[in-house]
């Protein structure tokens, strides 16, 4: 396992070197081609969406040797969550991979956000919430008493549903995380971190002349990208996104999705979304939740083209949800 982060590959057209992987990809493609006939029967979301197959970025180095090549970044094993007496999540087991975007889909109240919030222990703040099961970040149990929750959240960052910049300047919004963790040696160092984070979040060009203006004065989409910049400023290993586009218009959504593509490879990303097309566009792994249970988890392509479960099939074809 390499500790170093991979360079960002923005475009999915980069030819992949390994022949083994190429062969695998070809096999995958063949499989999809075979199922193309099935697409015609699937109604709305699929109609005319060959994009679903083409837009999934091709290079997936770890797909060759399933599980053997690289340990997943985070593993959840039989995770259950209770709010008081009510069980919100039942025995969920999922891996979040280093170089992949994992999408959690499902109807409202299915527990996908609850699960996401377990991954950096944000559920700790909810009175009466109880988590059982095993969640590991690089093999360390994050619920063990030795795990410092503050350190954990620096390693596992989060972007929320509603853009929530601090009512401070744009600069301060980004600089806050590095400051409390002591990541910058001085003002110049901090400037570099702020610039780098804003650039990675694709916001730098829009705000570089007004860093001292309030973060809340930005548009919704810009605010959300500011929140992403704030999350990546502390250089996390995993970024959790809880429906990051649900409050945004289509153009801002497209920008965020593009950003997710660019951030993939540098950070492990887990994203909750209501929007199935979005899951299909941005993710390589998809987990489908229903009524607190994990119904199906696998490669996005397979979930969307050839789901094993009837319930998944019904949901992604828009029969309920």
């Amino acid at each position: 396992m390499t500790k170093e982060k991979q360079p960002i590959t923005t475009n999915s057209t980069v030819p992949f070197p390994s022949t083994a992987v190429a062969a695998d990809a070809a096999r995958d493609d063949a499989g999809i081609a075979k199922e193309d006939t099935a697409w015609t029967q699937v109604p709305e979301p699929a109609a005319g969406s060959s994009p679903i197959t083409t837009e999934v970025p091709a290079p997936e180095p770890q797909d060759t040797a399933e599980g053997a090549a690289r340990a997943p970044k985070m593993t959840a094993d039989k995770v259950s969550v209770f709010y008081g007496a009510k069980q919100a999540l039942k025995d969920v087991s999922i891996q979040v991979h280093d170089d992949k975007v994992t999408a959690f889909i499902g109807p409202s109240g299915c527990g996908k956000s609850t699960f996401l919030r377990c991954l950096n222990r944000m559920n700790d703040t909810i009175v009466g919430a109880r988590v059982s099961g095993d969640i590991k970040l690089e093999g360390e149990d994050i619920y063990s008493p030795r795990m410092d929750v503050v350190q954990l959240r620096a390693r596992v960052g989060m972007v929320f549903q509603k853009p929530n910049p601090f009512p401070k300047s744009i600069y301060e919004n980004v600089a806050y995380g590095p400051r409390i963790h002591g990541l910058a040696a001085g003002k110049a160092d901090m400037d570099v971190i702020v610039e780098k984070s804003l650039k990675r979040a694709g916001l730098w060009d829009e705000v570089k002349d007004r860093l001292q203006e309030s973060g809340t004065a930005l548009s919704g989409g810009q605010q959300q990208r500011l929140c992403i910049a704030r999350a990546i400023a502390v250089d996390p290993e995993v970024i959790l996104m809880d429906e990051p586009c649900s409050a945004l218009d289509p153009i801002a959504t497209a920008k965020i999705e593009e950003l997710i593509h660019e951030l993939r490879g540098r950070y492990a990303i887990a994203i909750v979304t209501h929007n199935m097309q979005q899951a299909a566009r941005v993710s390589q792994r998809t987990a489908f939740f229903h009524l607190g249970e994990l119904i199906e988890y696998g490669k996005t392509k397979e979930i969307f083209t050839n789901p094993r479960e009837q319930r998944t099939q019904d949901y992604i074809t828009g029969r309920y949800g």
Binding site: M158, F166, S214, V234
Partner: protein, 285 residues
């Protein structure tokens, strides 16, 4: 349809007039107070009056001693009630667990805010004078007593202001790895400060005009020289007004009115300062 619209406009006009009448009523009383006081007391606002302390002869009596006493008292009150009140509010709202004991504390604090001030005066007399042997008639004791009274008001206002800070801000700070402490002191408290100051203004205005508890701890004595510190015997403005209004000498009627004017101006200044501070800390979303 037309008729209904007309009816709605009529209702709106009626409501506007009713509201205006309510405001006018309270303004009228204030105006009456101000006009009578100025008419009676303006002549008494001489330089002697503003620089001298109490005296047995009306022409020599002044309000400076009482003003300084009030000022020292309120400083002691605020120095104590503000930090204790704000810290209590933060603790109760952010750190305390929800259990019976804390529910009981919450009810007690709400009750405490409604306890009549004379009872606080008795408490001050019993604890600060009889038990702790602090100097009688001193702004220190007056301030301590008033602080007991003001603190619950600040706690209640502080808790409400802290509750009003949107949870999304807490989530945001926790999400980048801020500790509970950092969330509270970097984000929640700065956003809650304007609300806390509003509560403090109300508490302070009440403390400034309070007479009864000060009578109980001996600040009604005849004191002919201004206090030089918080442990010197002193009197306070409202107490001075109370004392003068009781004088048989007719010349003190003018003094009473003049002192009321001074008290009102003093209150206005203190409130103005507090509102200025509040606006400075106010943030826009």
């Amino acid at each position: 349809m037309q008729r209904r619209v007309a009816q709605r406009y009529a209702a709106e006009r009626r409501f506007k007039w009713l509201g205006f009448a309510a405001v006018a009523l309270s303004i009228a009383f204030l105006a009456f107070l101000l006009i009578t006081m100025v008419a009676r007391g303006a002549g008494g606002l001489t330089s002697t009056f503003l620089t001298a302390s109490d005296s047995t002869s009306a022409e020599m009596a002044g309000v400076y001693g009482a003003l300084k006493g009030s000022f020292l008292t309120i400083i002691v009150t605020m120095a104590l009630a503000f930090p204790v009140g704000v810290l209590s509010a933060v603790y109760l709202e952010e750190f305390a667990r929800r259990n019976r004991f804390n529910d009981f504390i919450e009810v007690s604090i709400n009750n405490l805010a409604a306890v009549p001030s004379i009872i606080f005066g008795l408490l001050g007399l019993a604890v600060f004078l009889n038990l702790m042997h602090l100097p009688r008639s001193a702004p220190l004791v007056g301030g301590l007593t008033l602080a007991l009274m003001t603190m619950p008001v600040i706690v209640i206002a502080g808790r409400n202001a802290i509750k009003a800070v949107p949870p999304s801000i807490r989530d945001a700070a926790l999400g980048v790895g801020a500790s509970k402490m950092q969330v509270v002191f970097h984000h929640v408290l700065p956003l809650a400060i304007p609300g806390i100051l509003t509560g403090t203004i109300i508490g302070m205005a009440r403390a400034l005009g309070e007479t009864a508890p000060l009578l109980m701890i001996g600040m009604r004595a005849f004191i002919a020289s201004p206090p030089s510190g918080v442990t010197d015997p002193a009197t306070a403005l409202p107490v001075q007004i109370f004392l003068w209004s009781d004088e048989v000498d007719r010349a003190f009627v003018e003094k009473t009115s003049a002192a009321i004017i001074v008290l009102l101006v003093f209150m206005l200044l203190m409130n103005g300062l507090a509102i200025y501070l509040r606006n400075r800390f106010e943030r826009r979303w």
